[in-house]
Symmetry: C2
Subunit: 338 residues, 2 copies
DNA sequence: ATCAGCACTCGGTAGGCTTCAGTGCTCGCC
DNA sequence: GGCGAGCACTGAAGCCTACCGAGTGCTGAT
């Protein structure tokens, strides 16, 4: 725990650095209103803060830069609970009052909203299928050898899988499709999608009803090959200028394309009880210079997904926390009412 | 039309510049095997090529760089019909032999494949709903005041729309939902999705069957609010190093997030009968330094979408054309067989 | 027509110098 | 003993100069 003065100094350094992206010198800090000692004293304290690991010096005779630990202390103890500024709040309200259309579209738009609010990239994980319950199962023939299995979930999501009937040497007999659909329906409606994997084989011998068997097999195969939750990314363009090393930009963009990795990351961070993951805390090498600010969102009281902001470690944490909290809350409310 | 020697020189400049990203001098060109004259002669011809608009000089006493017109001439007359190299071809074959899962997933993966082949960003437009025919319409109740309209298309796509029954003050009577579904089904199955907009109002007076009316109204509203074709973008990370101005990178990334714009762009380019759009030819200011290489793909003989590659103007056009052609063809074939 | 030769141009790099922001330390003061 | 004025020191950044070299345009000989 830092004494008051050191805390003020750390805070001043972090906030100034977030603002200017330049190493902060003792002079600047001393002239901050919250600090009322001379620059010499500030220098002493900054040296201490450096030896304690909160600050770092790019080179002698340069100002100080916060380390990851410095940012961590800042968000834990110093960043005031910022409230979204007027115009942002209005923007959020306007967005959620006027957004419409299907879920995917809306989540993608929300990620762009969040990106606009914070000036960094934003990510949103969609409501996962796991918590949702199957509402309807339908089997639609597309071609004589191809059918589409469409599963509607209680959260408004739709999962689908193609079923190749030809592979089983089974013709798409209308009756059979209907029977297969009914069979799946019987075992799935009201259950979680994950139980697709354990739908029992049809009672009749496979050779009598080849299509039915094929469908069940295909359905099972799809269940675990399922690509899991979707990810919506907005504001990737903001990453372009965020780091001075192009290589870093490339790595971060590359990571953002691996949806599964990011979804896992968000879940991990929340599971660890964090709202903010800074640098190495993310556990991902390409994100060494990034910070992630996350908030879960709830549908009817159940946490079902998360909204997050991904930017350079020198980001406005207070604003990001506020934005993420508000957007998460409004998104949840919006989804709860449908 | 350029005479043989000038053409060889232009070709040498373009290929060298694509390779090194450095202005090409007369010396380099003269030492190319296809050019058997001295550097002085090359200089004369390069001066002519510059005055004709095919080359440009960043400054006196630097080599030449191709202009957009130079690239255009190159792709039209000089770029040999390259064939994909062995390992790439194998990679493509492997991919299409092993890819599986649902359409969206597969298209996203394909965009990444194409990006890997060419070293630039890749875009793929999904099969559009316009050409597809409705196979099935289903109305599923989610909550007492909310239903989901699910439309399955003949191309395996699924469109959905939420219908707020509460708004109409109508309760979701099972019967009514079924009736509404049947009504839509009757008018839509076998037709194009676009006709959703002109589904006739139900025969019975609205006050007797409020839900039915609400559904039809909602369906109509969705029809034109529909977000059109989807876009799959892969390899955005490749853009990071592609331009020296960060601002350009930002603009291009920003553009790639506007799916509708990109979809329109691809369609436009193909409509103009082009395979390649260079710089200003794209008609988009942020793409002034970009080139786009496109190929359509067909399902059962019908062109339904396009695959494209978006990179800096100094890209390997021959390779990009080959990659785009092969991937488009294989993708079409793969989708045709299901 | 082609090309060797030549004077010229101009961006890029290297070295040397200065400036300046910022530090650490010391020492006197309250 | 904590604080701050003073001071010597450090090292990056900016600036000037000179120089180099890649590359040009032109000329005149073949």
């Amino acid at each position: 725990m830092l004494d008051d003065r050191k805390a003020s100094i750390l805070r001043a350094v972090v906030e100034e650095y977030i603002h200017t992206a330049q190493p902060v010198g003792s002079g600047h800090v001393a002239s901050a209103p919250a600090v009322s000692v001379s620059s010499a004293t500030v220098r002493n304290d900054m040296a201490t803060l450096e030896s304690e690991g909160f600050l770092a010096q790019p080179h002698t005779s340069a100002g100080r830069i916060p380390t990851d630990a410095g940012y961590r202390y800042y968000v834990d103890h110093l960043a005031g609970r910022a409230i979204l500024d007027r115009s942002s709040a209005q923007q959020v309200r306007f967005f959620f009052d006027h957004t419409h259309g299907e879920l995917e579209r809306m989540l993608a738009d929300t990620s762009r909203l969040l990106s606009g609010l914070t000036g960094t990239a934003a990510v949103i994980t969609g409501p996962p299928q796991e918590t949702a319950v199957v509402r309807s199962v339908q089997l639609v023939g597309l071609t004589p050898t191809l059918a589409l299995l469409v599963v509607v979930l209680s959260n408004g999501g739709v999962e689908k899988a193609t079923v190749d009937l030809g592979a089983a040497g089974a013709d798409a007999d209308e009756d059979e499709l209907a029977a297969a659909g009914a069979h799946l329906s019987r075992h799935l409606v009201g259950h979680h999608l994950s139980e697709l994997a354990v739908v029992p084989a049809p009672p009749e011998p496979a050779h009598e009803r080849p299509a039915l068997a094929a469908v069940v097999a295909a359905a099972r195969a799809t269940a675990d090959g399922s690509d899991g939750d979707h990810l919506y990314v907005g504001g990737t363009d903001r990453m372009a200028g965020a780091f001075d090393a192009v290589e870093t930009v490339r790595e971060v963009l590359g990571l953002l394309e691996q949806q599964l990795v990011v979804v896992t990351l968000l879940r991990d961070v929340l599971d660890r009880g964090l709202q903010v993951a800074i640098g190495a805390e993310t556990g991902m090498a390409p994100l060494a210079e990034c910070a992630l600010v996350v908030a879960p969102y709830e549908i009817e009281g159940e946490p079902v997904g998360s909204v997050g902001v991904l930017g350079p470690t020198r980001m406005d944490y207070a604003q990001a926390l506020a934005a993420v909290a508000v957007v998460g809350q409004r998104l949840g409310r919006r989804l709860s009412e449908g």
